[in-house]
Amino acid sequence: MLYAAAITTFFFVGGAAATLIRLELATPASDLVSAETYNKLFTIHGVIMVWFFLIPSIPAVLGNFLVPLMVGAKDMAFPRLNLASWYLYVLGGIFTVATLLAGGVDTGWTFYTPYSTMFSNGAVLLAVCGVFVVGFSSILTGLNIIVTVHRLRAPGLTWFRLPLFVWANYATSLILLLATPVLAMTLVLVALERFFYVGVFDPSRGGDPLLFQHLFWFYSHPAVYIMVLPAMGVASEIIPCFARRPVFGYRFMAYAILAIASIGFLVWGHHMFVSGQSLYAGLVFSLLSFLVAIPSAIKVFNWTATLYKGSITFSAPMLYALGFVGLFTIGGMTGLFLASIALDVHLTDTYFVIAHFHYIMVGGSVMCYLGGIHFWWPKISGRMYPEGWGRAGALLIFFGFNLTFFPQYLLGWLGMPRRYHEYPPELQLLNVFSSAGAVVLALGYLLPLGYLGWSLFFGRKAPDNPWGATGLEWQTASPPPKHNFRDIPEVHAGPYGYDPAR
């Protein structure tokens, strides 16, 4: 709950920055904000959305609440660590707010050297501290989830009886644990280089700016999977429930999650195809990038197959989940263009990339975060949200999202580079579409904030299991009592025991 409030706040700060960016880009000239302000806006948008929203959203808000419920445990393995992790998140947030107060930072969320170490005048150190601290918050969350899944499963709950949401959060936690420390140390090196001129990234002293990129993307590419794997977990809970049938190919889905998490560590070099990385390294990373697309494809096929012979209701969570599958498919398919190394040369650092990763992160993670919030809202709050408003919100967000980001694919192919506050005037029409979409999208995000807030006080009292779902979390009261269950449940079968004929 504490997490939900803090993360929602940051989502809207980051969202406000995004809205300003799109408003500036409604015209080709620089008119609303100056170049410097624009650069600070997209940096703070990136930093907040990546580290303060997307990464902690599902694991910290839904994961901390649901993983113990789903494995039939009284609480997380280390409850105090959980609280510590929240304090670290807030501390990191304070640093980030301090960055804003100190005048912002203009390095881009990627902090590329030598710009960040030697040329930027922004509050790089504060921003780096913020990310460093929040990184430890994620590490502690990940550690907690892993130990919980390993050690606190209810009697009879074997690995292949775990819901896919638990699998997804488990795999995500592995990435959090193995990747985040590398980012933390890399940022320490940036700070040391900026103030003591260590020289590890400085070519005149035997360093290399590309070394930073290797270290940075070693974390930041797997971080994409930190964002999207939990979303896949949410979709894998919602779709079977509203299709009233077991998920198709449960074991393959679980293996696919593990495959994505591990192969995801081997592909970071595809962010560096034009960076001056060696040709051969580029080719290896291109091949590995195609390999990581396969488990993702399997998941899309299996979700689609889960609809077959189902009995489908289109409630708000289901609309979000189906929207997710559609947007994730488009995002994934366009990822193949970027993995095709020769195409990436033209497309990288253009709006094509922007569109691609927003389809994955916003179309994927945010859709499922909202879907998950709606799905488990009765369990979390003990109240029902207004279904009509929920469906309207889901449709509005889906429409606004596509209007915002689809034109950006075309812009990217036509060669509009990213991080430009001015652009060639012939590209205005597509930019206007995109900016209009952003306004719709912003309204779409305000809608759930409004009616969910309303339902917290005035919503109908929720029964224990409003969706007729089979997960362990639905077998206890809404909201759950202090120790989740009155008696620790025993499990005798796999998840998703739905029957469409009933």
């Binding site: 710009y115 005149s204 960076s275 609809l307 650092d349 580079p417």
Partner: protein
Amino acid sequence: MNATTPLWALPAASDTASRVDALFLVVLAVTGAVTLAIFAVMAVFAIRYRRGSPAQRASPPTQSRVVELTWTFTPLAVFLCFFAWAALVYGSFYRADPAAMTIYVVGKQWMWKAQHANGRREIDELHLPAGQPVRLVLSSEDVIHSFFVPAFRIKQDAVPGRYTAISFTPTRPGVYRLHCAEYCGTDHANMGGRVYVMQPAAFAQWLEQGPSGASLAAQGFELFRRLGCSGCHDARSSVHAPELDGVYGRTVHLADGRTIVADEPYLRDSILLPKKDVVAGFEPIMPSFQGQVSEADLSALISFLKSLQPGGPSGK
């Protein structure tokens, strides 16, 4: 010939552009078809199996090894084809034609500076002959930049402290946009210009106009004389100034007792801030050249000084 070809037309103005476009269209066709098929299947299922529809729902399949293996290995095969094709095209960016014309391009906040083999320089513009293979050698004076010409479908980062290169052959005369694609600071969006692809004869004529020099070091030697450096630093000069033969990399003893290695930052400081590090045994009489020499002049001067190695060929 002066109007820039608009980006919405996305002209294909190089051999690389046509190769990339062919790959793009095939990938687009395959992924587009699969995406539409997935959406169609989802739509059909969603309508047919909506709650309360009369569709038959007995024993829905929960897994099928055959089906799942099929949709694991079919994409794998397709992906391997994409990979191989893309890798071949990518390789061609970096395999320079032996007859390729080499042009040095330096990125700097926030401009592109190019220098042709005969010494002709240009800023934020690049003139190229149609039909002639070109190899761009890129570097940067400050942060990472990226040389991006959408009409050629090429992009290559310019990294400080080292050189990167990319090869292509411009095919269609015209004027095209040039951008910086790697975020490089405040005026990143304005760092760009025009690429002029000309008929070979017109290009040859263009190349002959304007100043030229044999090389950066030779230009540095010119500057060395023009700015009056040689008046004092020449061995025959009556002024008591340090001899500069082999100065680069030498350990220099300073008047205040420190020792310093004469590296590039030191040479740069000596030209711009001569009072900062005075060499032991010499009077601080050298005037500052701050504001008189540009970055490009500085790098020419320094590379001239670097060429004055014992045993090596010198500019004299």
